[in-house]
């Protein structure tokens, strides 16, 4: 069962307890956590939403009147006519998220199949090797690429030697470095749910397709792909959503041309001190993630995708 988005299982409810009794017990058990999350998450997010409709004072303070100016500016219709800066940031975030997800799919598929075809005693170590980077601090894995992609590093020299990109162009900072950092950080997010699907594959379907004369491509497309689709979709979502809202990776590996939603938010809450506008960007980022999640929940309902946790 898909635990993360499924409704709470009804069979476990203690039906013999009266409605008042249920309420009382809920208040004791669920109550404290619920109150905590309402006070420290729901209200702050609501405040963020309200402030996104307010204005910035001359000294960076938050003030009335209510306005749609922040959202207009985000869409490019600022006070000074059309400005593509923020629409570009929005599109770039989506594109980088989608691009990362795509590269992770292309690289994650062979890795998941490789692990599933290993002899049983090597599977756990091979999988653990994927999990270790997943549990290692993202900041460390990201700044390491600054060393690896430095102009004088052997990797940079090698890449230039086989003439990818213009010789002499630095590999870092820039879009290339951000993409490398993102794929390296998010590959385990895709491989883990995908592997769960690949491991359960019914290979007899592939054999049947082969017996019927299908080539390797068609076997994969028609006999294997439909079976691993739930894991593939779940993995793609796990990469795409957090990658779109990433802040650390573009901050450490990118430059002015790779500003993403996360960096724009930080800028407004930091140097620019325009909290209402920063709130509007944050709110849009949140909306993007929630809509994506909702679409996934609707599509995967009852299809039995892998557990998200």
């Amino acid at each position: 069962m898909n635990t993360i988005l499924s409704k709470s299982p009804g069979s476990e409810i203690k039906e013999h307890i009266s409605y008042r009794g249920q309420l009382k017990r809920s208040a004791i058990t669920t109550g404290p956590g619920l109150v905590w999350l309402v006070l420290l998450l729901l209200i702050p997010l609501a405040a963020l939403g309200v402030i996104s409709f307010l204005s910035r004072g001359d000294y960076g303070e938050i003030q009335l009147p209510f306005t749609l100016e922040n959202y207009k500016r985000l869409l490019g219709f600022g006070l000074l006519g059309f400005d593509s800066l923020y629409p570009a940031i929005l599109l770039r975030s989506l594109a980088l998220g989608a691009g990362t997800a795509l590269i992770c799919v292309v690289t994650g598929l062979p890795l998941a199949f490789f692990i599933s075809r290993l002899p049983a005693r090597f599977k756990t170590p091979a999988l653990t090797l994927v999990i270790i980077p997943f549990w290692t601090n993202l900041l460390i894995r990201t700044y390491a690429w600054q060393i690896l992609l430095a102009p004088e590093s052997w990797l940079t020299r090698f890449v230039h030697a086989i003439a990818i990109g213009n010789v002499g162009d630095p590999l870092y900072p820039g879009t290339f470095a951000v993409a490398i950092g993102m794929v390296c950080d998010y590959l385990p997010f895709l491989v883990l749910p995908l592997y769960a699907s690949v491991e359960k594959l019914d290979w007899s379907l592939a054999e049947a397709a082969m017996d019927l004369g299908a080539n390797r491509m068609r076997v994969f497309r028609h006999a294997l792909l439909p079976q691993i689709m739930p894991g593939l979709i779940a993995g793609t979502i796990f990469v795409f959503l957090p990658a779109t809202g990433q802040f650390v990776i573009p901050d450490l590996l990118g430059g002015a041309k790779t500003v993403m939603l996360g960096n724009a938010i930080q800028q407004q809450f930091g140097q620019s001190r325009d909290w209402p506008f920063g709130s509007a960007i944050a709110f849009v980022a949140l909306a993007l993630v929630m809509v994506g999640l909702w679409l996934y929940a609707r599509k995967s309902q009852g299809k039995g995708g892998p557990d998200l946790l």
Binding site: T29, G33, L37, L41, P44, I140
Partner: protein
Amino acid sequence: MSLNFIAALLYLFLYAPLAVVIVYSFNAARFGAGWSGFTTKWYGALWENSLALSATKNTLLLAVSSTAIATVLGTMLGYGMNRFRFPGKALFGWFLYVPVFIPDIVMAVAMLLFYSLLRKWCSLFELGLTTMILAHVTFQIPFVAIVVRSRLVGLDPALEEAAGDLGANEWQTFRHVTLPLILPGIVAGGMLAFTLSLDDFVVSFFTSGPGATTLPILIYSSVKRGITPDINALSTLIVLASIAGTVVVTLLQRTKKV
């Protein structure tokens, strides 16, 4: 290209960053990417680095206290959500997943904003370790609750019924039957919460104040100024701790199945 070759390349790709940090932590050169001999002096320097020591202390203090609170609240929440009804439960069940998927930075600025609004009335919300603990507990609770709840789902109801038939009241049943059965789930949820707290940079960065630097914040600000070998030494220790932790958990899971 064979599958094995592609897989080898991908493992190399995943481990190159970890390897380079470890190798460079033994590099005698203070600046640049050139290699100028093997040394362990950066590890010795860490012990005298009061910033690194206090950041380690803050990180552990933050992780331990937030995990303790979140494990208790999250366990109660997971149990209550599994067993009892209340109006608006389906909606709240959905809301529980918001902290799981929300971009870190959105949660971070929402907290920053909220604390700054509260500070107008109450000085308790001055940015520091307290505000960081409050923030960490907030993103930890749902993870613990979800893990505990999934453990409860797999439980055989007959065990609790038997306890009831034998005269145990509700609390006794919970204390002596349910709690020991879901303990592995609580431990797993707590470890997840602990790791999330140790790893967190973004939420900590926005909700920390002067004197409340954690290891991720220290690494970030050092990297912003330019990577130095002692930061590589510190990162190497963190990487080795993560590897050890993951391996231990994997081994524990394996022995449990047998």
